[in-house]
């Protein structure tokens, strides 16, 4: 790859990426979330999303020839295989059937003459032979005739890799965080299998957050940060600490300025003990936290480690267990109404899915929770027998938030789906502020919105915290943002609290916490 760059709607995601990958070589690609790893792979794999958003700059060479894929199928023909994190396997099929999916060996029969290829019968013994052969290449103990639905998670991953290998022309294999779902032993088998594939001449791009795996398996390591390659080394010349610092070590200059000294507030407002939350993709295993009144508490960590699960668990959106005390009072879990009733509010990360009513007007979006929980904006009808919505009061409230949060819109009756990402985020915030909460969870407030809107959102959070004393719990994968806004930051790794640090702590310390080194001195006084 030479001089590859990409920008989405104006903000630059990839800048001048150059690297080469030899035959049978394993390249470790490492970088924080949002550093551009997935965009780079989308370019390599010719995903249509790249072409739809204006193509890319620079050149990609395969075996010296320039390659320009318009669809993933071109990449497949060129011998590039991709294994995604979420499995693309048919549950009801056996391992062998999945390995040869849509490339089934076929036997001729007369009907083919009249009705075409697709009526030729499938050669079942040949399928299981090819399945067994692909599985053996991985040196994994797995019966190719078992159904996928009965396989342990690790074996599903191997099936997917086996499928890519079975394609005759595969020369380059991209593994996107394959070990994220594997146990230690399964990860080792995978690494050995990768080495064996490399020896067979297949070159591999290995993306993972577990730096010790990168060091152990790769021939070459590339570190990506903010869309730029900041480091290209070999395992011998580096170690976990060095890679971590490159991944995270942004020069302090262009981070957000911290304008006032960190302050230590009063007693605990929210105490969470041994919380587990069953949220798909964001599993929380055992989290204990103490959040002080009036503080801006940050929760960081890599994607999929469970940081988003905490807010959803406490607010009762996903099945959860453990003890949660708000202002000393126990809060029953699994009932959103209870958590909201205690004075907590939340702005969830899935804006379009959970946070908004896309077809309803702005006013309705903003006042709904307040109306629902605190019976605001209702006026009595026929002497209080019924209470109906007070349209006038609703319009006023909406207009006040539109002004204070600078929401660019025609008027308060405009359907929310016509607004930009930034304005939609502000509406979610307004919805939470309307209930005047004592404690506000905010998940990924600045994800996918332009820089200008980011600043306004963060300023508003700080302002509400200072003026109204609302305790804010901010969950974000942008470490720098947390450090610029929060007083203390907890890092979550594999569903547990890896460690809690004051915001002023050096970013490398956070980098280590993120990468699975559980910190011994966890500042939690368990009461």
């Amino acid at each position: 790859m030479e001089g590859v760059g990409k920008s989405y709607y104006g903000n630059r995601v990839l800048k001048n990426v150059n690297f080469t990958l030899g035959k049978g070589e394993i390249l470790g690609l490492v970088g924080e979330n949002g550093a551009g790893k997935s965009t780079l792979m989308n370019i390599l794999f010719g995903m249509t999303v790249i072409r739809d958003t204006g193509g890319y700059e620079g050149k990609v060479y395969i075996d010296g020839k320039e390659a320009n894929f318009s669809t993933p199928f071109d990449a497949l023909d060129e011998g590039i295989g991709m294994v995604h994190q979420e499995f693309s396997l048919i549950p009801g099929f056996t391992v062998a059937e999945n390995v040869v999916l849509n490339r089934e060996p076929m036997k001729y029969n007369p009907l083919v003459e009249a009705f075409g290829e697709r009526l030729s019968t499938i050669d079942r013994p040949e399928i299981s032979r090819r399945g067994k052969e692909a599985v053996e290449k991985l040196n994994v103990v797995m019966d190719p005739e078992t159904l996928i639905s009965e396989l342990p998670v690790g074996h599903k991953q191997f099936t997917e890799i086996a499928r890519e290998i079975d394609k005759k022309k595969t020369r380059l294999l991209v593994l996107d965080e394959p070990t994220a779902v594997l146990t230690e032993s399964e990860a080792d088998i995978l690494l050995k299998a990768m080495k064996r594939l490399a020896d067979m001449g297949i070159s591999i791009i290995f993306i993972s957050h577990r730096l010790h795996e990168i060091i152990e398996a790769c021939d070459k390591i590339v570190v990506l940060r903010d869309g730029e390659i900041v480091e290209e080394t070999t395992p011998e010349k580096t170690d976990v600490m060095d890679i971590a610092s490159h991944m995270v070590g942004r020069s302090v200059a262009d981070a957000f300025q911290r304008d006032e000294a960190p302050r230590d507030e009063g007693e605990t407002i929210l105490s969470v003990r041994h919380l587990w939350v069953d949220m798909p993709g964001e599993l929380v295993r055992d989290v204990s936290l103490e959040i002080r009144k009036g503080e801006i508490f940050g929760i960081g960590g890599l994607a999929g480690q469970g940081k988003l699960g905490i807010a959803n668990g406490v607010m009762g959106m996903f099945p959860a267990g453990g003890k949660v005390f708000f202002e000393g009072e126990p809060v029953p879990l699994n009932h959103p109404r209870e958590s909201l009733g205690t004075g907590m509010a939340a702005v969830f990360e899935d804006r379009r899915g959970v946070g908004l009513l896309l077809e309803e007007p702005i006013s309705w979006n903003i006042i709904f929770t307040a109306l629902q929980m605190q019976d605001k904006f209702l006026k009595p009808l026929m002497g209080g027998l019924f209470r109906i919505r007070d349209e006038k009061a609703i319009a006023e409230e909406a207009r006040s938030y539109i002004k204070s949060l600078e929401i660019r819109c025609v008027d308060e009756n405009q359907p929310v789906q016509e607004l930009s990402g930034g304005n939609q985020q502000k509406i979610c915030l307004a919805k939470a502020f309307a209930t005047h909460p004592k404690l506000l969870f905010v998940a990924e407030p600045t994800r996918g919105i332009d820089v200008g809107a980011k600043r306004v959102v963060l300023e508003t959070l700080k302002e509400y915290n200072r003026r109204r004393g609302t305790t804010v719990v901010m969950i974000s994968s942008e470490l720098e943002e947390l450090r610029s806004v929060c007083d203390r930051i907890a890092i979550i790794n594999e569903g547990k609290v890896a460690g809690i640090r004051p915001a002023s702590a050096p970013s490398t310390e956070f980098g280590i916490l993120m990468l699975g080194k559980v910190d011994t001195k966890v500042e939690v006084e368990s009461r």
Binding site: M315, M317, P336, R337, L340, G341, A346, F348, D350, G353, V354, G355, L356, L357, L358, E359, E360, W364, F368, T369, L371, Q372, M373, D375, L378, L381, F386, R387, I388, R389
Partner: protein, 348 residues
Amino acid sequence: MKNIKDFLEKAGWPRIIIALFLLTLFVVAPFVEVRVDASISDTLVRFGMNGVMVLAMVPMIQSGCGLNFGLPLGIIAGLLGAVTSIEIGIPGVLGILIAMAVAVPIAVVLGWAYGLLLNRVKGGEMMIATYVGFSSVAFMCIMWLVLPYKSSNMVWGYAGKGLRTTISVEGFWHKAISDIGSFHIGDFFYCPTGMFLFLGLMCLGMWFFLKTKTGTAMTTVGSNPEYARSSGVNIDNMRTISVILSTVLGAIGIIIYEQSFGFVQLYMGPFYMAFPAVSAILIGGASVHKATIMNVIIGTILFQGILTMTPSVINSMIQTDMSEVIRIIVSNGMILYALTRVMRVKKS
């Protein structure tokens, strides 16, 4: 030009085609010796008769349970009420009120059970609603034979047991509501103002309900269940309330229908009664998860207009009774359009 395009866009092509079709029928009518005032009055009467049943569709659509093909469940409650009121034998408006008084509690119980069932099968509601409706009508066929009703003009002559398939309400509450304040212009035009008032009252009630806290919550559940849940709304309760409301309105709707129609149709009578109501509200412009009171009114007028006009006008034009075929094509075509259109909306 732009706002015409917007209007077309908002109104949706099929509705315009049907409206134009109805208009041409009215224009053509005088040329084929069809009395325009008689057909208008006929359309209005049918509008009053079916209005409430179409209104019964709104709550379930709003709360995201989809089109209520299980309306027969509500209709059964209404029939039970009507039959019991005739058994008691009090005529006039009081008789109707008794019928409703009996029908509503039954409808609430049926609606509640039906709502619980639908909550367990989220995603597949419409198909299950259809067959729950069908099997309950079939079940009632058995019950009509067995239930202990003795009133002479309802029971089979020879056996003295089991209800007749159609029971006349002539002596009891035929047009009891329609006649309140009704008036005639010339000898053909009859305007059942009583029925309109009642329908107006029900629509107003629904309009207010949608404004209350529960009503707002129900609409929110339909538009984005996760949003509602995150704001402390108990989704299953809201859906059950919407199903109960829809079933109760169905029960009241059938009683209004009967008092104007003049006969109570038992056994397989209500079997296909859900489809006209569903297609009417869709013609009114409702989608599978959004419906307003205006959709009810426009849809019922358009649909009933076509039902009344086609037999008279088309028959006299080409001397064949095409009305039944046209009704099937228009009514089911509309539902089909709504079902396939939903896919596009989701994608965009």
